[in-house]
Symmetry: D2
Subunit: 299 residues, 4 copies
């Protein structure tokens, strides 16, 4: 891909809430972007931003130096990467393929294996930071693959993220992302239980959480979300439905690594309960309502 010169062409598959603004940031940084999405509105937005709309995956890849996928989950990535007319079938030899979706590590490794047969260089590069981070180009990017490919991708990642870390071999980016979602989901569950405990004792949870935030219990989540949680404002943010999907990845990764995660598994069920109770479209901090309802304190 020639060091990220202005002429680098990026094939971008998946132009949704995350992929859309990421493609826009690449265009703004001078890359040529030829993109595809199954949703017409997503394709139109790309065209308005100055990108080229491809008729399908194969066309998006045909002339690309770099291919990026930003898709919902592993079945979509498998289909687009490995399916007939997919990336491995369509891309030029030597292309750099960056899967920035959050999927289970075993699929990332499988794709890397298949890609090796086709002279396609792959990195798994899931992100955190949400829609806001995608728009502002300040995502955290956790990258798995070879050092050489990581270096080669630097100029493409640059307009997308602020913290860009090579965390290990193929699949490692996904494993670190899984660990991240485990800790994030669990922290919400803990803060939720703390709020329920404080309020059930008749206390002002905001005052209590202020103290917690300043000590060893302190966390980014307490810092950013304690006020909205106490006020029961759960506008997303990052939706429960997505975190539910991600906890599935956490537990799949744990199963593959043959480790037991009892706390993670319990938190996954509480997030599942949040969906079942109708909060799937709310921010993951809405886990508070599951904790409340469990103790009969909800509305």
């Amino acid at each position: 891909m020639a060091g990220g010169t202005r002429m680098t062409t990026v094939g971008f598959i998946g132009l949704g809430i995350m992929g859309g603004p990421m493609a826009a940031n690449l265009l703004r940084a001078g890359f040529e972007v030829i993109g595809h999405d199954v949703v017409p509105a997503a394709r139109e937005r790309l065209a308005e931003q100055g990108g080229t709309v491809a008729a399908g995956v194969a066309q998006a890849c045909a002339d690309a130096d770099v291919v990026i996928t930003m898709l919902p989950n592993h079945p979509q990535v498998e289909a687009v990467a490995l399916g007939e007319g997919g990336i491995l079938d369509s891309a030029k030899p030597g292309v750099l393929y960056l899967d920035m979706s959050t999927i289970r590590p075993q699929t990332s490794r499988l794709i890397a294996q298949e890609a090796a047969h086709k002279d396609v260089r792959v990195l798994d590069a899931p992100v955190s930071g949400g829609e806001r981070g995608a728009i502002d180009g300040v995502l955290s990017i956790m990258v798995g693959g070879t050092e050489e490919d990581f270096d080669a991708a630097a100029s493409v990642f640059a307009p997308l993220g602020k913290t860009i870390v090579h965390v290990g071999p193929h699949g490692a980016g996904q494993t670190v992302k899984a660990a991240n979602q485990l800790v994030v989901g669990g922290t919400y569950a803990l803060v939720a239980e703390a709020i329920v405990l404080l309020e059930s004792a008749g206390l002002d949870a905001g005052v209590g959480l202020d103290v917690l935030a300043g000590g060893l219990a302190g966390s980014r989540i307490l810092e950013l979300k304690r006020e909205t949680m106490v006020a029961r404002k759960f506008a997303p943010g990052f939706r429960i439905d997505l975190h539910h999907k991600d906890m599935g990845i956490v537990l799949d990764a744990a199963r593959e690594a043959e480790v037991a995660l009892p706390v993670g598994a319990l938190v996954a069920q509480l997030i599942s309960a949040a969906r079942s109770q109708g909060y799937g479209q709310l921010d993951h901090s809405a886990l508070l309502m599951v904790a409340e309802n469990l103790s009969g304190k909800g509305d």
Copy 2:
């Protein structure tokens, strides 16, 4: 107690790991301290620091303007506060009694009720920050009781803590402390599971946790403890045995408030397992070893 003038006399019961340095800080700040502990060495240390050793609880309280207790758990506090020859029996009318032990909120409220009959003003004022914070006089102090008594105690708390917050009525200090220990214990459990997940996938957990520390998964615990956890250095710090005691308080408080804390209860059992596995004297970050052993990854 006359606004904390230099002549204020503090009766201090419980001169252990926490109470000892706290009494020293009061002496340094100009208070007269007359103290008691069941352990002779603790009494001698007080004498060396310039305090007066009392023959027992009653003598420690007899001339005190302020009485402080810093004791292991509620049975000791109940005995010292409510027992025959205890604080309520022995203190002067109008005395300010600050229980800085970490105990269950219901006992704090009980003591406040009993104290009201004896013209003793009570605050529950548990701390966080550990031995280090006690020595340096930078504890966080969570205070439950009346606003008036909180104001009256200001000069006594000042040499002991940095963050001193009035969080609500009698018992509220203990409830906030319980919420704090719930979140702290749970965060260790989550970070432990994250490390096990990362390492079982063959990754360098330190690199992975660096990424987590910089994003929404970030916490004080990740900031302060991730290196020592990855290196398996578990020198206390704050001992598992004490956190185990504190989780008992969390669940007692939950029972009293009639709320369910499923994640907290599971974490409590993991901390209990840490004790059973012989890690009671190690720092609470040693919860990592429980997670490892569960997955057969320990030594």
Copy 3:
């Protein structure tokens, strides 16, 4: 107590839902019963049944060969057994004291120790089988203490229970009862989750549970309660409030024995949630509603 001859006098403290019918069975079997309860109606019932009402604990014990307590929990038993004017103060030397309450094992052991100083022989003898079993005299009685005292108590236990087992030394009866309540509570939680799973898939849970009942998943609970659970008939039976108390004993016993019970602790929180959601007065099979509500399937 002279081998349980007809002239044996039993002092019976605690004549409630369980104790009332037990005293009646002793009267029917020819024992002289002198009883006490703090509730006047309970005392009146005893008189109607032919028993003698004592003015208090001391009087109930004064002439008794055997003393029985059937009280709500350990504070009541401690007060009645160890308090001033209590059983150890008031009973004749050589008396046999049977505590049939369900309390934590450590209290049973404490009482046995104290009793040894007073020449009182103690057995802990909690029961299962509920009000129905008490009325019909077919309780299971789990007995802790010496073999000799167990033999001496045989004629007193006989009219009360069907399965009467000496399970070990002082406290052992309580530990076995705790293990029983752990398994019973957990089995309800499992059956509840099975019903929610079956019904959420659109199936007739009754048909599914019939299959389970006939195989390795079979249990007394499936046998006795699957129809009422599927029909949402939760008339007690054994109240959630009592099982909640008992799960506290399970976890206290586990804490003392330094063992971790992760499943038991989670089940305890679900039973706690049942109380918080307002089902405390229903049969413990009402745990089904907690499982349903968690998944947003309740009314």
Copy 4:
């Protein structure tokens, strides 16, 4: 299939620990069996028993009136049923296809949908009862599909099982099997915790479990396994590895049905820990060792 006359030909795919003896029972009952397995020894055993060995799936199906699959998990079933040259491609119109594997309900429903296009009649018919039940022809068979197809399969099921129940539409057999495995796995976890609690208190767990077995805590598992568990004899039986697979199905089914199973999820992690600790080849009652190790009581 003409009412199960002697001339009925059964194509049998999967002749392993379960499938092998099932095929033998069909031969013994007068069915013609033409079978396939990827393992040569399994094929040879079929030949010795009087069956016909097919060169592959397509040949096994070609002349069959009934096709049975007994395979490890959903990927194998999907490949054999839906893959090129698979059952739907190769079987005669009107054939009855009985999938007796334990897989997730959603795959059973998918296969039923696809089969409808090919005039293949499908039942999901997972079993319980283990190798012993397969050999003795006394399995429990939980059947999902139409009433008509269930009736048509009666003569084929007859030599295989004792309890044969039509539990609902396509997928229902798998859902009931999942519910069964949830309750079985959870009951082992509870009995394991009960044993740890009893033994840690110094008691004879066998004596304690005898009492439990006779009361409301009683279960088939206590009846059949308490002696071997207390003796730490964990010869399979039903292997931890298989139960681990089945708990994955339970949680997949729960995810699809949008229900939360907190107890089931925790039990699944404990079973996962059993594998990680090296007990995958032992009977599922070996969950006891996970409970012991957690409390530092193992060897």
